[in-house]
């Protein structure tokens, strides 16, 4: 990407950008496939002829058309940070076209599928790809302006008017976010043999969402929303929680998607717990899923399942607390011998622990795990006289089966987030971060590093145990197979991918990593390959994670993702510092309030 900057003379920037936008428009109108695919016509009218039915554009075509229009507007209208916005549209359109093209080629049997065969021509995807490249080239020839900094004083209003305006903006932003989440979840429908197009449609939609978010970031809107929500923290938390609870009322409110969302929630809660150990305390844990497993098996034994050895039937809240506590105790036990090892060696010890747990559960040592036959028949959670696997009617809407699990897990994730945030901004959290940064210096500051590390393991394991208790009730079966090494790695990947040490990062990472396999089902053997490639690309171009910590953002400032040289980064850092200082002078009170 670095080489694309300044590849063209600046005079050609605008014509290229405009041409890219026009090519997007043309590409959206052209046919995309020369023949019917083996599994039936590709959705969203891949064989649509030029102007055949322009008003029937849906899906990827509609997205590409939008990008074309947006790109043209951004090219000719006065746009702040024009190069960033156009680049985002360019990459978005390129991804949409490329993914669709690759899929049609793969399914349609060769390059003829997207060019010409049997007298049919279909150059839509190629035109789209070229348009994307041209647009990126054009954007690269433009000066890379700074992301504009919008004032947190919404519309320049003060006092209550300003506060109400900010709340209105946040409401709109969060509602839009809810809509986007719902769209993303349902994009492409349910994966699997019954509907073979879920994967490409979903990926193409990710390209659209990514391009859109990138453009909004370039315009400075995402940063503005983030600052506003920092300022109005309590309001944002309440609205976000309400938005999360409102998801079942959107298109995503089907039994299947509620089940997927609840599973994501379980892993998100676990990932946040892992984020304490890895992100805050800097202790690499490769066997973390074992704590989820311990919580699951304890809960299974206390659920009254006939197949369990203990077989007690405790009310769910009590069972969940016991599961969390037992997992926490194991966390502390595992933590203790790891005090003497650091870095790689710690990773090996935790890896071994994860494997010990897995093999113990597999061989049913102690008769608590059911071994290869697992513990089936775990009853659903039942509280307030309602079993959680029934559908409920709320606000006049018949909500699908599984929605109660979704509500429960949303509340648990919210609680886990609160635990994480409160601990992070406390004496304990600072001690963890200090240990991560420089363990010797932390000891020299009087921190009992051993105790702090065990506490990190304990808290992380407790949260995982709690998530495990819900997980096993939702699934109805507790099998050792759910807690293999790969799960630990995926959780770790979720934390690193999303952004170490941040809450939204862990949630986003968990969502992506557990939604993608669902959507990519029809790729069967290739899905892990695609998955791995996606991870490599994200880590190459965004090593700080999708939602980086304020500090990690500084660490990787502008690097790689922006494709800048070190000098540019330093220069920009100095400029940003100056701007920051100026702003602080302007509004010292607000600066203090936002400072965590």
């Amino acid at each position: 990407m670095t080489k694309l900057t300044g590849f063209l003379p600046p005079a050609l920037a605008r014509p290229f950008a405009a041409l890219g936008g026009v090519l997007f428009l043309i590409g959206a109108m052209l046919p995309w496939a020369t023949f019917l695919l083996n599994d039936g016509p590709y959705p969203d009218k891949a064989t649509l002829q030029f102007f055949d039915a322009p008003l029937e554009l849906t899906g990827y075509r509609w997205n590409l058309l939008l990008f074309g229009v947006f790109a043209l507007i951004a090219t000719f209208a006065p746009t702040p940070a024009k190069a960033r916005v156009l680049r985002a549209f360019g990459w978005g359109g390129l991804v949409i076209s490329a993914i669709t093209a690759i899929f049609i080629v793969g399914k349609g049997g060769g390059l003829g599928a997207i060019t010409s065969a049997d007298g049919n021509v279909a150059f839509g995807s190629i035109v789209g790809i070229i348009g994307g490249i041209v647009l990126i080239l054009g954007a690269g020839a433009m000066p890379l302006d700074d992301v504009p900094h919008w004032s947190t004083k919404v519309f320049g209003l003060d006092g209550w008017a300003g506060r109400l305006a900010a709340w209105a903006v946040l409401l709109v932003a969060f509602a839009a976010m809810l809509y986007l989440v719902s769209l993303t979840l349902t994009a492409g429908g349910i994966g699997g043999a019954a509907f073979p197009y879920a994967g490409p449609i979903f990926l193409a939609f990710l390209g659209f969402a990514g391009g859109l978010l990138g453009a909004l970031h370039g315009l400075g809107i995402t940063g503005w929303i983030a600052r506003l929500s920092e300022l109005h923290r309590a309001f944002s938390i309440v609205v976000l929680l309400l938005c999360a609870l409102a998801l079942p009322f959107t298109d995503a409110g089907s039994q299947y998607w509620m089940q997927v969302a609840a599973t994501i929630g379980v892993y998100a809660a676990t990932a946040i717990g892992l984020n304490i150990v890895v992100g805050l305390a800097g202790l690499l844990d490769l066997g973390y899923v074992a704590f989820l497993g311990i919580g699951a098996f304890v809960a299974a034994n206390l659920s009254g399942a006939v197949a369990s050895t203990v077989g007690w039937n405790l009310p769910f809240p009590l069972a969940a607390l016991i599961s969390a506590a037992v997992a926490g105790i194991f966390g502390a036990i595992v933590g203790s011998p790891t005090l003497r090892v650091r870095g790689d060696y710690l990773a090996i010890v935790t890896l071994a622990f994860g494997e010990i747990f897995y093999r113990t559960a597999q061989n049913d040592i102690g008769n608590l795990t059911g071994g290869a036959s697992a513990i089936p028949g775990i009853p659903p959670i039942s509280m307030f006289g309602t079993a959680f696997n029934e559908s409920v009617t709320l606000l006049g809407t018949e909500l699908p089966i599984g929605v109660l699990y979704y509500f429960l897990i949303v509340l648990v994730v919210a609680a886990v987030m609160a635990v994480f945030a409160n601990l992070k901004n406390s004496r304990i959290g600072r001690a963890w971060i200090a240990i991560r940064e420089d363990e010797d210096a932390a000891r020299a500051m009087g921190i009992a590093t051993g105790r702090a590390k065990i506490l990190a393991f304990l808290v992380g394991a407790t949260l995982a145990g709690l998530a495990g208790a819900i997980f096993v009730h939702k699934l109805g079966t507790a099998s050792y197979d759910s807690f293999k090494f790969l799960e630990s790695v995926t959780l770790l990947a979720a934390v690193i991918l999303g952004g170490m040490g941040t809450i939204p990062g862990a949630v986003l990472g968990a969502s992506l990593l557990f939604v993608l396999p669902e959507k990519l089902r029809e790729f069967e053997d290739y899905r892990l390959l695609v998955f791995g490639l996606a991870l490599i690309f994200i880590m190459r171009f965004r090593p700080q994670g999708l939602v980086p910590d304020r500090v990690r953002r500084a660490e990787f400032a502008g690097e790689t993702a922006e494709g800048k040289s070190i000098e540019e980064i330093q220069e920009q850092a100095v400029l940003e510092q100056e701007a920051e200082l100026e702003r602080e002078h302007e509004a010292p009170a607000t600066a203090k309030e936002t400072g965590r």
Binding site: S426, R427, I433, E555
Partner: protein, 290 residues
């Protein structure tokens, strides 16, 4: 002024017969050091003389092979965390801040042992927690102002200029409310103005009642700062006394300038002979990063 201080002084920190042996290398040989309340002691010597090793012994990072360190008459444990709690704080020769934490957070980590919030309080952020947190932030702001870094609270430590990082390290050490502050080359890499500012800062720290030990190569800086100076050569105290005495001592000049050679060599062989008598047991310090 300093005479009045001397008359009321009481020994705060006392190292007696500290010997540190790494395998076959005697890094420190029977070193004794005594620091009176409210005074500044300098520690000079050529590279490899054992100055930082002595600091590591004083702060519990190393367990001395022989000898003891006492703070106000009480022998110190060999655990850096406990030593800090007892009242000794230090800075490092190569700055060791928490680079990705903000300036304020760095100082707050220094407050760690003087805060009392346990895990439960940290979880719920109750009124007591918030009061403690507020007090700590208040203290942190005071310390940052004291060292001249006020207003930089939310800056990430790694982004600070070098001199500011040194000052932040001092603020972080002072946050532990030490009786004794050990400064390892506080002016390394500084220009004359910055060095003078550092000297004034150390005087002000002394005036708050903290006793200070300073390691430094810059002899001019040390002689203008300290109440007494110890010269460490080849792991042993060569000379000890007031700056004037040390400055005029021919052995010090020899140690630094390397002439006349024979005498230095004689003192080296002397030290080596003394070191040769000791039992070369492994000091059990496998984990230290020398």
């Amino acid at each position: 002024m300093s005479a009045a201080r001397h008359s009321m002084s009481e020994t705060v920190l006392e190292a007696s017969g500290v010997t540190m042996i790494f395998g076959g290398l005697t890094a420190l040989n029977d070193v004794s050091l005594s620091l009176d309340e409210g005074r500044i002691v300098g520690l000079i010597g050529p590279n490899g003389a054992g100055k930082t090793t002595l600091f590591n012994c004083l702060t519990g990072l190393y367990t001395p092979t022989r000898g003891a360190v006492r703070l106000r008459g009480k022998e110190l444990p060999h655990d850096p965390a406990k030593v800090t709690t007892a009242g000794i704080a230090r800075t490092f020769q190569n700055i060791r801040l928490f680079p990705n934490m903000t300036v304020q957070e760095n100082v707050l980590v220094g407050r760690h042992i003087r805060m009392r919030q346990g895990p439960i309080a940290s979880l719920f952020h109750g009124p007591v927690f918030r009061r403690g947190e507020k007090a700590a932030r208040q203290k942190s702001a005071e310390l940052l102002e004291f060292v001249g870094l006020s207003g930089l609270d939310d800056e990430v430590a790694r982004n600070l200029p070098y001199g500011d990082q040194r000052r932040l390290e001092i603020a972080r050490a002072l946050a532990t409310e030490p009786d004794v502050l050990l400064l390892d080359e506080p002016t390394a890499g500084m220009n004359p103005q910055e060095t003078e500012a550092a000297r004034q800062l150390i005087f002000r720290i002394r005036d708050t009642g903290v006793s200070v030990v300073v390691i430094e190569h810059d002899t001019k800086f040390i002689f203008g700062l300290c109440d007494s100076v110890s010269v460490l050569v080849q792991g042993a105290v060569l000379v000890e006394g007031s700056p004037e005495t040390v400055r005029d001592d021919p052995r010090v000049i020899e140690a630094y300038l390397g002439k006349p050679r024979e005498e230095v060599e004689a003192s080296i062989t002397e030290a080596a002979a003394a070191g040769g008598v000791v039992d070369h047991r492994d000091a059990g310090t496998g984990e230290v990063d020398a």
